[in-house]
């Protein structure tokens, strides 16, 4: 069901992670992603696992919400694992049939790659669950602000505004899509059966109303923004100023330890 997609939704709680500056969180997430990719052996990956789980726990977001995000991408996960299973032919042969062999090396690789993806999903979910979409946007805007000096001032603002609105309307549009789907099903539309072509065709009665309503929403939103004195962001101030706090210091120390750990374990083993 579309409703099961919770990725990109803020979870309200009080935790060190929630308190961190969005800029620090974005940079840390990027660092995490890079480091997860550079961890080359089981030891450094295990260390990454422990660190990610540590972050999940201190974020105070229910673990099942993270697991739910995995459910949404299990196909990708399974696909990656299977490809990697056959990719490597090192180690002992476990199973062999026709021209395919599954080796211990393959199994190792499959688990390794799947774990990496899981960690990536987890760590990026931490960012979206603990950061309100708007402060995320503020963070990105602030990080991109050096671009202003090369004449892209307006572009940065427009990008940030687009992100804000997109994040705000994703749940609304998902709900709307579901309503339209149900309405067309009630008129006898068959969305589940038929050939690929038929199924694509069956989407038209859903996509057209969705498109039309999005245009209507966009128009009404533009009017509402105008009524709230929006004029393209000229002279705009912010209620929430981004300031670094103690939590950010902890976060930076944590990532330093994490970086050293991964690199150290990569070198040692």
């Amino acid at each position: 069901m579309l409703k099961d997609i919770t990725f990109g939704q803020y979870y309200d709680a009080t935790s060190v992670v929630h308190k961190c500056d969005p800029r620090v969180k974005i940079l840390l997430m990027i660092a995490f992603i890079v480091l997860i990719f550079v961890s080359q052996n089981m030891f450094s990956l295990a260390f990454a696992c422990v660190s990610v789980i540590f972050v999940l726990l201190i974020s105070r977001v229910p673990i099942k919400l993270f697991l739910k995000n995995l459910k949404a991408i299990w196909v990708v996960l399974a696909f990656t694992a299977v490809i990697n299973l056959f990719y490597s032919n090192t180690g002992k042969v476990l199973v062999s049939f026709w021209i395919v062999e599954i080796t211990t090396g393959g199994v190792y690789r499959a688990v390794f790659m799947a774990l990496r993806i899981i960690l990536l999903i987890f760590i990026s979910s931490v960012l979206t669950y603990t950061t309100t979409p708007n402060s995320l946007t503020d963070g990105i805007e602030s990080l991109l602000s050096p671009l202003k000096y090369i004449g892209l001032k307006n572009a940065v603002h427009i990008f940030a505004m687009m992100m804000t609105i997109a994040l705000r309307f994703i749940p609304t549009l998902i709900e709307e899509a579901e309503k339209i789907m149900n309405a067309q099903k009630a008129r006898g539309a068959d969305l589940e059966n038929g050939s690929l072509v038929e199924r694509v065709k069956a989407l038209i009665p859903i996509l057209i109303p969705l498109l039309i309503s999005s245009v209507r929403r966009a128009y009404e939103l533009a009017e509402a923004m105008e009524c709230r004195c929006y004029n393209g962001g000229v002279g705009k101030t912010r209620m929430k100023q981004l300031t670094l706090s103690v939590s950010d210091l902890y976060a930076i120390i944590f990532i330093a330890v994490f970086t050293c750990g991964i690199i150290g374990l990569n070198i040692i083993f």
Binding site: D12, N134, R168, L221, A224, E226, C227, R228, C229, M239
Partner: protein, 281 residues
């Protein structure tokens, strides 16, 4: 009299399918500062067009509109007009910009370029004024229609407008949400002295207004206190409107030879009116 809005001989024309339509016809109207006005009219009677002219979203084809003495046609004072006359629309979903309540309410004051501290104060006091202070960090998506609409109102109040224009803010709400909104508007009107102009299809929402206007074909065809306007049952029905069921009852009784006054609206007053007749017999 101190008028917040003065409309002088205003006409609004628009072109659709190569034909010119007149949405508002040579209309003149003053809105007193601090008053509570309800505008009734069927779809296409021109009330939305009129509403959008009050804060300069629509510009009159002919005539002038002064908001606090400022002409809405003047481009350099556009923001001044919008700051003074805030607008709330029908669909709360399409008015909320941010995914967190407080950030949404802050949008207006941020656009006005106010200092962060003042924005914070205004956001908190606006949320309090609409009774939504406990939802300060909720996501609008999880709120009920009535609550969302109150957030939309808070977003306007935070700009500290003189006047609030609401274009069918209750059309998509359930009775509970409708009551929440109407109560909130009366509270803002009484406590903060904000002028309220409420456009609605629900006759009972006009009950406690200072003044009711009825629009039809771009013109005002009735203007007065709620009980005065609702006395014209036949006229209201002829322009596709309705009357509160209390009025309908009194009117039906009158038609059946009962000597009742039809100039009351509330349930208690109606009951008292009928009691008089019963006891008189």
């Amino acid at each position: 009299m101190d008028n917040i809005i003065e409309i002088k001989n205003v006409t609004y024309e628009y072109t659709e399918d190569e034909a010119t339509h007149i949405a508002v016809k040579n209309l003149s109207l003053n809105i007193e500062r601090g008053s509570f006005t309800v505008i009734l009219g069927h779809n296409g009677s021109g009330k939305s067009t009129l509403a959008k002219m009050l804060n300069g979203l629509n510009k009159p084809t002919l005539g002038t509109i002064l908001v606090d003495g400022i002409n809405t046609l003047a481009e350099e004072t556009e923001i001044e007009v919008k700051r003074r006359v805030g607008m709330v629309f029908q669909n709360p979903d399409n008015q909320l910009i941010a995914s967190i309540v407080e950030e949404d309410v802050a949008f207006g004051p941020e656009n006005l370029g106010l200092p962060p501290k003042e924005i914070r104060q205004r956001v908190d006091s606006a949320l309090k004024a609409v009774g939504m202070e406990e939802f300060v960090s909720s996501t609008p998506h999880r709120l009920s229609g009535g609550q969302k609409q109150r957030i939309a109102i808070a977003g306007i109040i935070a700009m500290e407008p003189e006047c609030l224009v609401l274009d069918e803010p209750t059309a998509m709400l359930d009775p509970k949400g409708r009551r929440e909104i109407v109560d909130t508007l009366h509270k803002l009107n009484k406590e903060k002295g904000i002028t309220v102009i409420l456009i609605t299809h629900y006759m009972e929402e006009a009950e406690n207004a200072d003044r009711v206007l009825v629009m039809n074909d771009g013109e005002i065809i009735s203007d007065g206190k709620p009980h005065e306007v609702f006395q014209n049952v036949e006229m209201l029905k002829s322009v596709g409107l309705d009357v509160p069921q209390t009025t309908e009852l009194l009117y039906a009784l009158q038609k059946n030879g009962f000597k009742v006054n039809t100039n009351v609206i509330s349930v208690t007053d109606t009951a008292r009116e009928i009691k008089k007749v019963l006891e008189g017999v």
